[in-house]
């Protein structure tokens, strides 16, 4: 019987099958960060347990670290203690720890792939809901809680129920000025914030195959915003070319063996999915969120919707609540929304291609008066690459702050935090109430639109700034 990519990944990792549909799933690799791991290590200590397979883990601090003054100790004592605790736990339990001064440092979902820690055909988990990012490589990757981190550390397995499958096919070529972020925002808008609960998504179709690995990571990253823990893209030549030569990728004859195995992973012709949705890439325009849930998206050329036009009372209530928090009026043009802050970065859009497209728009231009703009590369490798290409100079000349890598304004756990009522054009993944600071308002978009909006001082269509491609 033809199998899907998800079936193959799942079935090859089942250690044991229990009654009632629960599987013991083997976890090849896990990334650890400072927020979700301390309680897991504390539990190991309490129970006198060891880490079963130390080589399966890679630890790096990203959430609570500052993006300025990294030559000094972390000013916030609680954040400093948290980061030190991660280092101590990694040391005591024999796990590779990437410190803040390590050139590999970055956001877990940027660093893991860069190092070749993320590989097709593996299972990979992290105490972070955006772990589906790694699914871009054909890796069965999903976010877990701290308790599950403890399980993986001690046993290398998780008790899980197999998901249903959902294929998202994106046909045709993306128009100029439209990118991976626009696809995923449109997908989340179409599925709804809970539309993919219990499903593993596989993204396929011409537009997906044409995406770079950076674009595929952006895409898979936000699967959780539609309720799915897992988003996948089948590995192909783009994947192999990107991974070859990475520090932790197989080398020499091992590489050939690995690629031969990876070629068996894509969904078989005729494989049946539980659900399907299709999107016409040729009709996509740049997408932007207007509300407080990532499924509340609009075309940049469109208008803020009216709850009166909602399908049902529940949806109308959700929309009205979001409009009130966001301080927006139904029917106003999206491009009339004035912004005061811009954030380019995060595990969604903190990679080199994201910085390149933003810099292309910002070259020889200035951010609008009164706009505070911040670019936070996703990793030190991204930062170095951008500096080698002179992108930092473009950002600085345009009036952006050029920072050190971390999660920063995507989660606002460090001192990068917006004041109440501040409105931000953001390349991050969540527009939840208070996500970028108590009372702050977030509009999700791709890096091109964020750059364009920085220049305009209001939400702007990047296509107006890209010129002839």
């Amino acid at each position: 019987m033809p199998s899907t990519l998800y079936d193959k990944l799942w079935n090859s990792h089942v250690v044991a099958q229990e009654e009632g549909g629960i599987s013991l799933l083997y976890i090849d690799r896990a990334m650890l960060h400072e927020v979700s791991s301390p309680q897991a290590f504390a539990a190991l200590r309490e129970k006198g347990l060891k880490v079963r397979n130390t080589g399966a883990f890679l630890a790096v601090a990203d959430h609570s670290i500052p993006t300025r003054h990294r030559d000094r100790p972390i000013a916030d004592p609680q954040a400093r203690a948290q980061v030190e605790l991660l280092a101590r736990n990694a040391h005591d339990f024999g796990i590779d720890m990437i410190g803040l001064d390590d050139p590999r440092q970055g956001i877990v979902h940027v660093t893991g792939p860069e190092q070749g820690f993320t590989l097709p055909g593996l299972t990979l988990v992290c105490g972070d809901s955006h772990t589906a990012t790694h699914g871009a490589f054909g890796t069965l990757a999903f976010g877990i809680g701290s308790g599950e981190c403890e399980s993986v550390l001690a046993t290398q397995v998780l008790r899980l129920t197999k998901a249903k499958t959902l294929r998202v096919t994106v046909h045709g070529d993306l128009p100029p000025g439209v990118g991976a972020k626009d696809i995923i925002l449109a997908v989340v808008g179409k599925l709804g914030s809970n539309g993919a609960i219990g499903h593993a998504i596989e993204y396929t179709g011409h537009a997906i195959r044409a995406l770079s690995m950076e674009g595929r990571m952006t895409l898979c990253n936000m699967s959780i915003e539609a309720g799915s823990r897992t988003g996948l893209v089948a590995p192909d030549e783009v994947t192999f070319a990107w991974l070859k030569g990475r520090p932790l990728a197989p080398q020499g004859a091992d590489w050939d063996d690995a690629v031969a195995y990876w070629r068996t992973l894509p969904s078989d012709a005729g494989a049946v999915f539980d659900r399907e949705i299709e999107i016409d890439a040729t009709k996509l325009v740049p997408q932007v969120s207007w509300g407080t849930s990532p499924d509340q998206v609009a075309d940049v050329t469109g208008r803020v919707p009216d709850p009166a036009g909602a399908g049902d009372a529940e949806m109308a209530a959700k929309m009205a609540k979001a409009l009130s928090y966001m301080g927006l009026t139904p029917g106003m043009a999206v491009r009339d929304i004035v912004i005061g802050h811009v954030f380019i970065g995060s595990c969604t859009n903190g990679r080199i291609e994201d910085l390149r497209i933003a810099a292309r728009i910002l070259k020889d231009r200035r951010v609008a008066v009164g706009v505070q703009a911040l670019v936070v590369p996703g990793s030190k490798a991204v930062k170095s690459q951008a500096e080698a290409e002179g992108l930092d100079a473009i950002f600085r000349a345009a009036g952006f702050d050029w920072r050190e890598p971390g999660c920063s304004l995507c989660v606002a756990m460090n001192d990068d935090r917006l004041p109440p009522d501040a409105r931000c054009a953001s390349t991050s993944n969540r527009n939840f109430e208070g996500r970028q600071g108590q009372g702050a308002r977030t509009h999700l978009m791709g890096p091109a639109m964020a750059a364009a909006s920085a220049i305009a001082g209001h939400i702007a269509d990047p296509r107006d700034y890209l010129g002839e491609a």
Binding site: Y26, V35, N194, A412, G434
Partner: protein, 202 residues
């Protein structure tokens, strides 16, 4: 883990859709590395205003729901971030059972590991339970019988896998359970996997 067998408690209504884990536990409190005592941060920015005063209108600040042990929530409760601080904080408030039309999956999984029972219900049952909650009623939750009994005596079924139910009823520790039952099986799986994919661990 504290076993979950039966629970009779006041049920609070929080019917808003998409209550995410940032609302349940704001990120700025995530630098705390403890898992106990987090109840004071639960729903913090809904419960307290900028000056730290209670917001009178928020349901968990009102009687009788201040003493609720059960929550009837809206669709997609606990969506968003995987932070287990969200269920830890709710548990510390004294709420051990959450009923909703759907849950964020990671949140739902986290509940089971903390002796908390997430119950997914259909539209009609959800409406009935919201009305009970609005009236300040109590519910009887019986995990053994897999039922929730409403004030009028009618019952609603609790859908739950046998394995998860057994673990909750007995308060089993997930990690020790796996090690006791499967240590050898995992060893054999690992050896086999390494033999099949030798490039994996070099």
């Amino acid at each position: 883990m504290q076993p979950f067998t039966t629970l009779t408690a006041i049920v609070a209504p929080l019917e808003e859709a998409d209550i995410d884990t940032d609302i349940i536990y704001p990120a700025r409190f995530l630098t705390i590395t403890e898992k106990k005592g987090l109840g004071r941060y639960a729903f913090h920015d809904r419960r307290y205003d900028g000056q730290g005063r209670e917001v009178a209108g928020f349901v968990l600040n009102r009687d009788p729901w201040r003493h609720a042990g059960i929550l009837v929530a809206g669709p997609n409760f606990g969506c968003g971030s995987s932070r287990e601080q969200a269920p830890w904080a709710i548990l510390d408030l004294g709420i051990r059972c959450i009923i909703a039309p759907s849950f964020g999956e990671i949140f739902r999984g986290n509940c089971y590991r903390n002796g908390m029972l997430p119950v997914t219900v259909g539209e009609a049952d959800h409406a009935a339970l919201l009305s009970d909650a609005g009236a300040g009623a109590s519910l009887d939750v019986d995990l053994n019988a897999r039922t929730i009994t409403r004030p009028d005596g009618s019952t609603i079924a609790i859908p739950i896998e046998d394995g998860k139910r057994d673990a909750l009823l007995n308060g089993w520790d997930e990690v020790m359970g796996i090690l006791n039952l499967y240590a050898g099986t995992i060893d054999r799986y690992e050896q086999d996997r390494r033999a099949r994919l030798p490039w994996l661990n070099r």
